[in-house]
């Protein structure tokens, strides 16, 4: 783990790309369900939209992988830059009262980690085909970063979480 530079075959690279998108979809859906449960419907909708984007990208990776025999990797065997997949985010950044801007910032951090992951593979993989493919993925993730930055700029920049008039952590 923690060595994206060592990804050396196209099959290994695509296995990482598919897992990255699938884990992203799973996490966004989990977060959307949690926000639904806590009645933050706007952020729930936003997370669901992010899950849908991830699903479409996973289909693209599947198309690229058609006919290939991808390796089966255990969760701890992936060569992410960190222990976790780039687009799973951090639970500590989640709050039931989070605003849409904060949700977009969460997504932006995910996209930046993906871009950086693919960038490392693109510049360091020992395999030319992998480097080229990773370069394309880096470009695509960079476009996502730009898109999210534009969305964030369009929103009110106030990231203050509103007061909850019936907070859960008050003893009755």
């Amino acid at each position: 783990m923690t060595n994206p530079q060592e990804i050396a075959t196209k099959a290994e690279f695509l296995a990482h790309a598919f897992a990255l998108e699938q884990e992203s979809v799973d996490r966004y859906e989990e977060l959307a369900d949690a926000m639904d449960t806590h009645n933050n419907l706007e952020v729930a909708g936003l997370f669901r939209k992010m899950a849908e984007f991830g699903r479409k990208h996973a289909v693209e990776v599947e198309r690229l992988a058609a006919g290939s025999d991808l390796p089966t990797l255990e969760p701890w065997d992936f060569k992410w830059a960190d222990d976790e997949g780039p687009e799973t985010g951090d639970y500590a950044d989640i709050d039931y009262m989070m605003t849409p801007v904060q949700a977009l910032q969460f997504a932006l951090a995910n996209e930046k980690r993906s871009r950086d992951f693919y960038g490392l593979v693109a510049s360091h993989s020992p395999n030319q085909t992998v480097r080229e493919l990773a370069g394309e993925f880096t470009q695509e993730e960079a476009e996502h970063v730009t898109l999210l930055e534009r969305w964030i700029a369009r929103h009110d920049s106030d990231t203050t979480i509103a007061d909850d008039l019936d907070p859960p952590n008050i003893v009755d």
Partner: protein, 278 residues
Amino acid sequence: MNPLSDKIEPKDYKSDVKPVWCPGCGDFGVLNAITKALASLRLAPEQVALISGIGCSSRVPAYTNVYGFHGIHGRALALGAGLKAARPDLHIVVAGGDGDGFSIGGNHFLHACRRNMDMTYIVMDNEVYGMTKGQASPTTAPDWTESELTPSGTHARPFQPAAIALAAGATFIARAFSGKPNTLAQMVVLAMQHPGFAFIQVLSPCPTFRPEQKEWKNIVRPFAVDALPTSDPALAALHCQRDDGMSTGVIYVEARPVWKRSDMQEIAIDDIEQEFRI
């Protein structure tokens, strides 16, 4: 199933019941780690039983599609032990919180460690009773003053889960962080493969009643010693006692005879009734 292979996916072990945990709760990470571990072990849902007590984290069986039993407060290990005795073929995973496991269930914890039945015990430790709205638990720091029940703190030394598990005789002891589900998944796999009682203390932040625990992600780190895991209880004890409780990794692994069903004295119902006849 993963469309790229026949591999079982972690989400194949999740039920249709959506967690009601607070967004940002560490228990989401533990649920994900458990399902990832089950997928890695390629276990069929009917080969596994997930048993719990009471508390936020004890809701976990409902969120999976393996056999589940949401038991009574503090008795999850007793239920797990009974199930293991009746169905030794099942993989038993017991899960719950620090209050459930170390206070109400504290005595069961000690004896489960020393009995060494083949099961895995995962404690999601957030140092607070969350479901009852934020009271000090056995692992709460003595100077935590946010609860109305202990406005000047508990003044009690916190329970040391790993050190106590070691002293009580657990044969696999580890500490993990819920914010690292992949690392925790590997630890759960090792624990489930370990023959005997395996205990994992998972530092699992409560964003609602202990929001300061969001900082744990910047504090936890792997044990900085090559000596771990060890089978030397003295060395394990040394590292447990020297540590501030925020180092993660497998601490102790010991090969010791595992409790077997054949160890039990078999007795027929008729013979029992005979003993009660006047």
